[in-house]
Every structure is written in C-alpha cells, then in structure tokens.
Amino acid sequence: MSVPKQPLNQRVLKYVITFLIIAGSLWSASGLEITPERFLTAPSKVWILITAMFPLDLSQEAIDRIVPKVGESLFIAWAGTVIGAFFSFPIAFLAANNFSLNTFSRVTKQILNVIRAFPELILAFVLLPITGLGPLTGTLAVGIHSIGTLGKLSSEVIEGIDEGPLESIKSSGGSKLNELFFGVIPQVMPTITSYWLYRFEINLRASAVLGVVGAGGVGAELINQLRFRDFPRAGTVLVVTIVMVLIVDAISAAIRRRIIKGRDIKV
C-alpha cells in the first residue's frame, strides 16, 4: 500500500518555503558576519556574566535605589495604560465601521495604524526635549502607543458584537443613545477591560526599558550598572524587575480570567 502523494503545488510550496528559510538565514548570517563558532562560544560567555552577578548585591543602599525605580516603571505602565484606555475608548467607537460613518471609520483606523507604527522608545526621545527627563515622558510615550493598539483592538471588539440586543432595544422604543449604553457597552466591556489589562502587562515591559533614553523607570539603572561593570547590582536590578513582572502578570491574568469567565456559580 502506498501513501497518496500530496498535490504537486503543495509539494512545490513546501520546497519553496524550506529554500526561503535556509536562504534567508544564510544571507542574514553572512551579512552580519555571524559564524557558527560564535553561537557555540556564546553560552559560556553568558555563563561568565551570570556567575559574575551572583551573589546579588542586596545591601540596603542598593535596595533603596532599585526598588523605587522598579516602582516607577510600574506607575509609568499603569498611568500610560490609563491614558491609552481613556482616549482609545471613544476613538474605538469612531473607528468601528458598524457605528460610525464609513469614511470616518477608515480615516480613524489609518490614524491608529500610524500611531501604532512608532515604537514607545522613539516616541519617548522625540517627547524628551518637551516633557523633560523623567517618568512623565515615559508615561506619555507608553500612553500614546497604547491609544493606537487599544483603539484597534477595541474597535474590532465593537465590530464583532451581537446585533440582537440592539434590535430589541430599538423595537421597544429606545434611542440611539440607549442602544449604546444598554446594548453595546455591556457586551464589549468585559473583552475591552481584559485588553486593557493585557496592554498593562505589555506596557510594564515597555516602561522597564524606557530608562535607556532617560524617560524614567528601571532601564536607566540596569544600563548604568552594566556600563560601570557592577554586575552584582545589575543582577539585583534584573531579579527585582523579574519578580515584579511575574507578580503583576499573575494578578492581571487572574483578573482577566475572572472578567472573561465570570463568577463561578455553585449549584
């Protein structure tokens, strides 16, 4: 018994993809002058760095410096997410094609795309001369970027709603505003809130690196300690950041699950 052959175009596609992947990586590796030896020696070099970090610098002075910085990253991420949520919510209704005029929705979506295209770091250093060195710049950068991403996600949620409740409100004499408040918002709120929290988790990582350009947060601390070759303290920065991210992720994931699945009802 022979196995039936795949259709010809699928087989060709498979070879083309394999070729693309191999050719792409070879072209990139040769362009970057990366040889296999570099990959083989990399783990030992990383190991040297890791061993240099331990034992961690847990002196009172180090903790007093690092923990507020990690906290600052947390506040930047939260405040940025609040800015993003606050502005993206109405914008999402403008961008949803079942709620706003067709041309209006298309224009708003394009604006959101452009906002989303700029990484937070680039926004941060463009804002830096205006808003000054410090967490405010980071907050605004994170906030502006979040408006783009949350606006897109929320508008997609609004576009995907069930029209039934709206119709029943309309048929019982409700106004357009009643439809919005009693038909749309209760439907979309759980998903949109969970997107806000999800964005907060992403923003937390983004705000941690913003310090590299001087926009506040723990990033500046890490890059300075690495530059001064103070590896134990750099290790402390890393560990504190990781612990904070893990805790926040766990809390946020638990709340998201609760929002989406609802309360457990015991029968």
């Binding site: 596609l13 993809i17 992947i21 792409g24 990586s25 072209w27 990139s28 590796a29 362009g31 970057l32 002058e33 990366i34 570099r38 990399a42 070099k45 990383v46 040297i48 760095l49 906290g71 600052e72 947390l74 506040f75 930047i76 939260w78 405040a79 609040v82 295209a117 700029f118 990484p119 770091l121 680039i122 250093f125 463009v126 001369p129 205006i130 808003t131 000054g132 410090g134 967490p135 405010l136 907050t139 990582r205 983004a206 941690a208 690196v209 590299v212 350009v213 506040g216 990033g219 890490l222 890059i223 690495l226 890393l238 950041t241 990781i242 893990l246 992720d249 709340i255 609760r258 929002i259």
Partner: protein
Amino acid sequence: MLTVVGYPFALFFSIFSFFQVGFNIDDFKRNWENRKLVTDTLFDPKWDWAIENASLALLETIQIAILASILGCFIALPLSFYASRATNQTTFTYVVYKSFLNFIRTIPDLFWAMLFTVAVGLGPFAGVLALVMFSLAIMGKLLSETIDSIDLGPLEAAKASGAKHTQAVFTSALPQILPNFTAYFLYIFELCIRASVILGLVGAGGVGRIIETQRIFLRFDRISPIIVLILIAVIAIEQFSVWLRRKIL
C-alpha cells in the same frame, strides 16, 4: 468583591500613579516652549543624509530580524511540545520547560540586548541573540497553548497502532499545529522587525545605532527621514507577510 474593592482601588491607584509620574502643569508649560527644538527640525527631513548613512544599517536591522526569528521559532518548536500537557505526561519536565518559557518572557527585549552586549560584545550578534530569546518566548507561549488544545484522537490512534511517544507526536501532533506555527512565525517576524529597530540604542546593531548618535545631538532633522524609511520597510514587510499568510494558509 471585584466591583466593591476593584473599581475604587483601580481609581485610587490611577490617581496615585499620575502623582508618582509627576503630572505637573507648570513644568509642562515651561517645557512646552522647548517644543521648537523638536518641531523645527523634525519636519525638515534631510533625506540625502538619511539614505546615504542609514540604508546599510537598515539592511542590517532586517537581517537581524530574519535570522533571529527563524532561530527563535525553530528552537521553540521542540520546547513547546515539552511545555504542553497534551504531549508531555511527565509532570517534572513539563513544569521545568513551562517555567523556563515563562521566565524568559518576563525579561524585556532591550534588557536581553543589554545583557548580550556585555556577554558577547557590541554588535549585531548581541542583537540576534536578544531577539532569539524574544521570539523564543512568544512562540513558546503561543505554540504550547495551541498544542494544549489539539485533537488527542490521532495521537491515541498512532499509539494504538504501536507508535512510540516521539513517533506519535511527530506523525499526529506536529501536522496539527504546523498551520498555526506558520501563522505565528510570520507574526513574530513582524514583531522582530519592529523590535530590531531599537536594539541599536544599547549597541546591539542595526539602524538604532545611527538613531542613537543623532538623538544625542538632537538632530531630529536626520532622525525623522530614518523613521520614515523604517516605517516604509516595516509596512512593506507586513504586506509581504500578509500576502504570504494568505498564500500558505
């Protein structure tokens, strides 16, 4: 509980955060006069300079993203099978792989880049390693969750006809997730292109290096055309990946 405690807490924490990050109208007004520093130069792009100096670095950025996303995703492929309940019955190894993937996901991409520049030296190789970790983390999470939800029937059928565990996974689980793998790969490739732009800010190669040197001198007239070039490249690559996704899936 959530409504009684949650909403007031969220509100309180928001107000507290805004105080912490220093929303201060007076400072804002004072700094607002500095805006000319940015706006005068930002909208006066020096195209010739950017094309002459940044195109090679931009190519380097794209190469970093290609190599790193391919390596990261293909390293993640076997790991994900170990990090899923459906294909790994041994609790110990499952927990080890799952926590490993969760752990590398907590470190932001630029932190990886900083660490690797210290460990292996400045240059694009550090950037490649950073993005390998970045794509490994995302692919590991997405793929292991996909494997969790595969149809277990074929796996059981393969085992019933005498296949070893590895063989069963290869013949029955792998084909089920390959379409998802391809879709995730293209998505991660796009993320890597975006992430690789900023790697240069910490010395890990690519176009960010040029942005960093011009940024320090506030030469926004040179940065803005570079940003536009990056946007064009990113959008072109995204369009290509959308086209490829439609072609394959």
